[in-house]
C-alpha cells in the first residue's frame, strides 16, 4: 500500500498528475507503448508502481498493451494504459472487447494532431468522435476531458472509479496542452479521495452467473483464481457468460451495456458553466481551449460584450442538459475546438435549433486564443442582431 499523503503544493504537468491520480485511485497495473505526448505517464508509472508492489510492463505495441490491461484487470488489479492518436486507433478492437465483456480499465488518450502520424508534438482535439465510436458496433462510452493539471488528477481518479463501478472501459481524453502544461497544484490528501472498487460476487461458485446484472445493471465480478471458474468471451453471451449465437441475447446484452451507463448518466455527464446565465453569446469549449475561452469571457465582458462559457467535462456522455439550459437564454453559441467540428455536432443536437450554433475551428497546430474567440464573438454579434 502507498503511504497516505497529505495535501501538498507541487509543480506538476497534466501527465504527472495523471500518474498521481492513478496511484491514488488504486491502479496497480499499467501496460503501454511509448508515444508522444503521453509517454510521461508510462515513465511515471514505471517508477511509481513497483514501489507499491504494482506492475508495469512495456508491451510490443498498443494492441498488446490493451490486451495485457484487460488480462490484468481480470486477474484482479485495477489496470490502465496511456497512449495518443495512432496508438488509440490500434487499441480500438480490444476496447470493444472490454466493453462487451465488461472489464474495468482506463485508457488515457493524450490527443495529438492527426490523422496518421500527423504532427506528433502538436495539440489537437480530433479524437472526440473516435472516443465515442472508435470500436465497431454499438457500445457504451465514457470519456472525460480535463482542462487543468488538478483536473487531470481528479478525472483520472474518477475514470478509475467509474470503470470499476460500471465495469466498463473509461477514456481519459486529455489534449497535448493539458498533458504537458505545468501548474502549481495542491493534490488532495489520501483521506479526501473517494476510491471505488468493483463489486465481487457473494454467492458460491455453484450458483454464480457471471453476467447476471446487479441492481445497477452491473454484474458482480470475481477475479481469476477466486474459484468461480468463469468464462469470458467477446462473442455475444447470455448471463452464463457462454456464447449463445442468438440475436435475442445480443439484443439483451448490448442494450444493457448502454442502459447501465444511461441509468447513471445524469451524474456522469458534467459541464462547468462560467458566466453563462446572462450571456448573449455562449462559448462551448473543452480541455485546453476552455482556458482560452475563460480568458476571452473575462476580457470581452470588460469591453461590454456579454460572453459566457459552457465547458463540457465529459465528452461522453455529452452534457446535453447544460447546453440545453443556455440555449434558451443565449443569442448564439460558438463551439471552439481544435478540429474541424466534432463536439459541435453534439452541441447542435442539444440546442435543438433554438439558437444559432457557430464553429470556431483551428487545425494549424496552434492554440485557439482568447483573441480568436473574441473576434468571432464580435462577428457573430453583428450578424445575430
Amino acid at each position: 500500500m502507498p503511504v497516505p499523503t497529505e495535501r501538498k503544493a507541487q509543480l506538476l504537468s497534466g501527465n504527472e498528475a495523471c500518474v498521481q491520480g492513478a496511484i491514488a485511485a488504486g491502479v496497480r497495473f499499467f501496460a503501454g507503448y511509448p508515444i508522444t505526448p503521453s509517454t510521461e505517464i508510462a515513465e511515471g508509472l514505471a517508477v511509481e508502481l513497483p514501489k507499491i508492489g504494482g506492475k508495469f510492463i512495456q508491451m510490443e505495441d498498443e494492441i498488446a498493451s490493451m490486451g495485457a490491461v484487460i488480462g490484468a484487470s481480470l486477474a484482479g488489479l485495477k489496470s490502465m494504459t496511456a497512449t495518443s492518436g495512432p496508438g488509440f486507433s490500434l487499441k480500438q478492437e480490444n476496447i470493444g472487447f472490454a466493453a462487451l465483456t465488461e472489464i474495468p480499465c482506463v485508457i488515457v488518450n493524450v490527443q495529438r494532431y492527426g490523422p496518421s502520424t500527423g504532427l506528433p508534438t502538436s495539440p489537437a482535439q480530433g479524437d472526440i468522435m473516435q472516443a465515442r465510436w472508435g470500436t465497431h458496433g454499438d457500445h457504451p462510452a465514457i470519456a472525460l476531458m480535463p482542462a487543468s493539471v488538478r483536473e487531470a488528477f481528479d478525472l483520472t481518479v474518477q475514470a478509475v472509479n467509474l470503470s470499476e463501478e460500471l465495469r466498463t472501459p473509461v477514456i481519459l481524453l486529455m489534449d497535448e496542452v493539458v498533458g504537458h502544461m505545468r501548474e502549481r497544484v495542491e493534490l488532495p490528501a489520501t483521506d479526501e479521495i473517494t476510491v471505488v472498487n468493483r463489486v465481487k460476487p457473494t454467492e458460491d461458485p455453484e450458483h454464480f452467473l457471471p453476467y447476471k446484472p446487479g441492481p445497477n445493471l452491473v454484474p458482480p465480478m470475481p477475479a481469476f483464481g477466486d474459484g468461480y471458474r468463469f468464462h469470458v468471451t467477446g462473442l455475444v453471451h447470455n448471463e452464463t457468460g457462454f456464447p449463445s449465437g442468438k440475436g435475442k441475447d445480443g439484443n439483451i446484452l448490448v442494450r444493457r451495456l448502454l442502459a447501465k451507463i444511461e441509468q447513471r448518466q445524469p451524474s456522469i455527464a458534467q459541464a462547468e458553466l462560467y458566466q453563462a446565465d446572462d450571456a448573449d453569446i455562449v462559448i462551448v469549449a473543452a480541455g485546453s481551449v476552455a482556458r482560452s475561452a475563460r480568458a476571452a469571457v473575462k476580457e470581452a465582458r470588460a469591453q461590454g460584450l456579454k460572453l459566457g462559457l459552457v465547458r463540457p467535462i465529459t465528452a461522453w456522455p455529452f452534457p446535453a442538459e447544460a447546453i440545453n439550459s443556455v440555449a434558451t437564454t443565449a443569442k448564439a453559441m460558438i463551439v471552439a475546438e481544435m478540429n474541424l467540428g466534432q463536439m459541435i455536432i453534439e452541441v447542435e443536437r442539444a440546442a435543438c435549433g433554438r439558437v444559432p450554433v457557430i464553429g470556431l475551428n483551428r487545425i494549424d497546430a496552434e492554440l485557439i486564443t482568447p483573441q480568436d474567440i473574441i473576434a468571432r464573438a464580435q462577428e457573430v454579434t453583428k450578424n445575430v442582431r
Binding site: 484487460i70 488480462g71 484482479g76 483464481g225 468464462h231 457462454f242
Partner: protein
C-alpha cells in the same frame, strides 16, 4: 483416469458436444491438455486458459477453469497481463496457427523473448479453419487453399525454430497421432518455469484435407505417422533421409530467469530500496 472421469472433472459437460467438424484433431489436443493438467496435478481453481480466435480457440469454452476467449491473435498479450498481475496463476494459452503466427506473430516472439511463464499449445492444422480454409503462415508451400487456388507460393514458418530464436526456453513438437508423447510434452511445458511452447501438428480434413488430396482424417493421421521423426532417431539419420520429414519431441530446453519472478526480485526490490 478414465475418459469419463477426465471429462467430468475437466470439461464443462453442459457445453458439449463441441462445434468441431467430424475428423478434426482439436478434440485430441484438448484431451491431451486436460490429461497433462491432470498429470501435472495443477490446482484447477488457480489455472487460467486463454485463447485467441479460431476453431481451436474455442477449446477453453469447454474446459472447467477460469477461461478467457480473447480477440484474434492477442491471446498471448492478454495472458501476459493475467500472469503479470497474478504470478501464482498457471496460465495456459491455446491458439491456432494463424492466430499465433500471422496476426499474433509479434506477440509470440515478444512473449518468448521475455521468457514469461506461460504454456502455449498451438493447434497447427496448416490452415485457417474457422474462416473456411484460407492459407496461413504455416501452410506448406505449394499446398492449396481457398485463397491459394493455384497453390501457395508463400514459404512457411518453422514455428519452433522461430520461438527458440526469439528466446523461448521450452520448445517441443507433437502430433495428434502421437498422443501419449503429446501429453508428456505438455506436462513438461507446464512444469517448466519459463516460456513453454508446444506445436501440435493436427488435421483439418474439412478445409486442408479436401483441397490437398487427403480423402479423410485417417489419411492425414497416416501422413503424420509417416513423416514425423522423433528427435533421437533423427540424430542418426542423413539429411536425405530427413528430407520432407519433420521432427517431433523436445526440441529445445534451457533454464533461464523467468519474467514475473525477475520483476518481483529486481524491479520491485530496487524500487523499494531493498536491493541496489
Amino acid at each position: 483416469m478414465s475418459v469419463k472421469e477426465l471429462v467430468e472433472r475437466y470439461c464443462r459437460t453442459s457445453k458439449l458436444p463441441h462445434i468441431w467438424c467430424p475428423g478434426c484433431g482439436n478434440g485430441i489436443i484438448m484431451g491431451a491438455v486436460m490429461r497433462a493438467l491432470d498429470k501435472a496435478d495443477i490446482d484447477q481453481d488457480k489455472t487460467v486458459i486463454v485463447s485467441g480466435i479460431g476453431c481451436s480457440s474455442r477449446a477453453p469454452g469447454y474446459m472447467n477453469f477460469d477461461t478467457l476467449h480473447t480477440t484474434h491473435g492477442r491471446a498471448l498479450a492478454y495472458a501476459t497481463g493475467v500472469k503479470m498481475a497474478n504470478p501464482d496463476l498457471n496460465v495456459v494459452v491455446l491458439t491456432g496457427d494463424g492466430d499465433c503466427s500471422a496476426i499474433g506473430g509479434n506477440h509470440l516472439i515478444h512473449a518468448a523473448r521475455r521468457n514469461i511463464n506461460l504454456t502455449v499449445v498451438v493447434f497447427n492444422n496448416s490452415i485457417y479453419g474457422m474462416t473456411g480454409g484460407q492459407y496461413s503462415p504455416l501452410t506448406p508451400t505449394h499446398s492449396y487453399a481457398t485463397t491459394a487456388p493455384y497453390g501457395s507460393i508463400d514459404r512457411n514458418f518453422d514455428l519452433c525454430k522461430l520461438v527458440q530464436a526469439a528466446g523461448g526456453t521450452y520448445v517441443a513438437r507433437g502430433t495428434t497421432y502421437h498422443t501419449r508423447q503429446l501429453v508428456d510434452q505438455i506436462v513438461a511445458g507446464l512444469g517448466h518455469n519459463g516460456f513453454s511452447f508446444i506445436e501440435v501438428i493436427t488435421q483439418c480434413p474439412m478445409y486442408f484435407g479436401r483441397k490437398n488430396k487427403f480423402p479423410s482424417a485417417v489419411d492425414m493421421l497416416k501422413w503424420q505417422q509417416e513423416h514425423a521423426v522423433p528427435v533421437k532417431a533423427a540424430a542418426k539419420m542423413t539429411s536425405e533421409q530427413l528430407a520432407g520429414k519433420f521432427l517431433i519431441g523436445e526440441l529445445y530446453h534451457e533454464e533461464a530467469p523467468e519474467y514475473t519472478a525477475v520483476y518481483e526480485k529486481e524491479v520491485i526490490a530496487k524500487a523499494r530500496g531493498e536491493v541496489k
